[in-house]
């Protein structure tokens, strides 16, 4: 029964795959609409063999790294600063909340007009997307440190370094890491979308070219790769979370 149950999880994907294979091999749908799985695999193989896929992935990931590191770093600083200082929060908090609620994509035309369609535009857009989740998580984490902890620390005259290491770090690190994970996922989505809109390289651009040339196989490869990269980034951060916060039991 257990085997049956776990096999249920595979039922839908396998059925879909079989249906895909059958429908294309029997020619029930025109090849412009759906290409056979084999052709997608062939396309993937070809893209790997020519090094095209690796090059696109490298460009995308390097943009992601730059934009995400900038945005998340600034977000961390901003969140910790406004979390620590009530005055700073009073000055900046309202504006922060308003800008946060403007959809990132609304900035695309503005940024293109100001920065052009080169690298800077994409990196800035990713940084904007990465900034807010980290800033919010850092703010909540800092505000969430129980006041009692700080009182105990003050009463026992705990040295600053110990206080940071034993108290601030364990209290703030896990929630911030969750924010970082959300932020990385969003950054990836925004980057792929930005590359679809305007780029001369990257996974998104590869898909966009595929679409324009009606290369369904190339588009499908791109979709799988974006999904895989998204999944991998998420998994890596989850693993990091577990490793760095061993005192927590993951649900």
């Amino acid at each position: 029964v257990k085997l049956l149950r776990s096999s249920l999880a595979w039922l839908l994907p396998v059925t879909l795959l079989l249906a895909w294979w059958q429908v294309t091999s029997r020619g029930w749908v025109p090849a412009q609409l759906l290409v056979a799985p084999r052709l997608v695999v062939d396309a993937a193989r070809e893209l790997i063999a020519t090094g095209e896929l690796a090059e696109h992935a490298r460009r995308s990931l390097s943009r992601l790294a730059t934009g995400f590191a900038t945005g998340a770093g600034l977000g961390l600083l901003f969140g910790v600063a406004t979390g620590t200082s009530r005055a700073l929060d009073a000055y900046l908090g309202g504006m922060f909340q308003v800008i946060r609620q403007v959809p990132t994509f609304a900035f695309v035309p503005v940024l293109i007009l100001i920065l052009g369609v080169e690298e800077t535009f994409k990196v800035v857009l990713v940084a904007k997307a990465a900034f807010f989740p980290v800033a919010i998580a850092a703010f909540d984490a800092v505000r969430g440190i129980p006041a009692a902890y700080l009182e105990v620390a003050a009463a026992t005259r705990m040295p600053l370094l110990t206080r940071l290491r034993r108290l601030i770090w364990p209290a703030t690190f896990p929630p911030i890491l969750v924010g970082v994970r959300i932020s990385l996922g969003r950054s990836w989505m925004v980057l792929v979308a930005a590359e679809l809109i305007a780029a001369e390289s990257g996974i998104g651009q590869m898909m966009e070219m595929g679409r324009q040339m009606f290369r369904m196989d190339v588009v499908m490869v791109g979709v799988f790769i974006t999904g895989l990269v998204g999944l991998a980034l998420d998994r890596v951060l989850r693993a990091t979370e577990l490793r760095l916060t061993p005192w927590r039991t993951q649900p």
Binding site: R5, F105, P109, V110, I112, L113, V192, M220, L231
Partner: protein, 250 residues
């Protein structure tokens, strides 16, 4: 408190009013009177109302259809282990693909028009609703069901007294996420599929024509909608769930 929050935005607007429209920066920083004139023209010419209505109705329609679909699937997954196993892993796998990354594929299948956009916005609404409904139903204390059973509550009674109050908070979290995602993905999909009406298409065309003034008016409108819709949802939540006093305020 409020006053201090207005200081820096006020300063920025002041700087804009002062420097805007100067020849060195005129390309990015349209002068405020010009911006106002553009906004008036867009409203009078009917472009802004038309495109805004198109975007709003797209988002709203997807909220209803995607939301209902999400609700049904979420409840089904929470109440039946078989359904959960059948759909769970596939849904989680699909969720990992960045939604707008599917745009080229959807474009090839459904063209450049409203169907493609509707599909993307529906999916953006569907996922948060499914996940939160699922978690909400599962989080209901099993004891409550047993009590309801012992008291001989009818099916309807159980639905009204146990299920509804139990899932309401999670459902609401799902709704507020869905509302935000619906608006974001509406604008995003309109930028990607520029055929047809919508704020995203209006911005895209303005950008192609290097009309920074129109783009800026659109950003202001889109931002205002985002802020007010979120505020509305929060109000609604406060009104509907008055019995909760442990709500996390953020």
């Amino acid at each position: 408190m409020k006053l201090r929050g207005l200081l820096i935005p006020g300063l920025l607007v002041g700087l804009w009013a002062y420097y805007g429209g100067r020849p060195e920066v005129a390309y990015y920083l349209v002068s405020l009177p010009d911006l106002g004139a553009t906004a008036r023209d867009l409203v009078k010419g009917g472009e802004l109302p038309l495109n805004l209505a198109a975007s709003l109705s797209r988002a709203l329609l997807a909220l209803v259809t995607g939301g209902i679909a999400g609700l049904i699937v979420g409840i089904a997954m929470a109440s039946s282990r078989t359904v959960d196993r059948l759909l769970g892993s596939t849904l989680h796998g699909l969720r990992q693909v960045p939604l707008l990354g599917l745009a080229p594929l959807i474009g090839l299948w459904f063209g450049n028009g409203d169907a493609a956009k509707a599909l993307i916005v529906n999916m953006a609404v569907f996922f948060p609703v499914v996940l939160n409904t699922h978690e909400g139903v599962r989080a209901i204390d099993r004891g409550l069901w047993e009590i309801a059973h012992v008291y001989g509550m009818t099916r309807l009674g159980r639905l009204r007294r146990v299920l509804l109050p139990g899932v309401a908070p999670a459902l609401f979290t799902g709704l507020s996420q869905a509302v935000a995602f619906a608006w974001i993905s509406t604008i995003g999909s309109e930028l990607l599929f520029a055929a047809g009406a919508g704020m995203g298409s209006l911005m895209e065309n303005a950008q192609a024509g290097a009309r920074m003034d129109i783009v800026l008016v659109c950003v202001l409108v889109v931002g205002t909608v985002g802020v007010s819709v979120n505020a509305l949802v929060r109000r609604l939540g406060d009104a509907l769930m008055r019995w909760r006093d442990d709500r996390v305020t953020s």
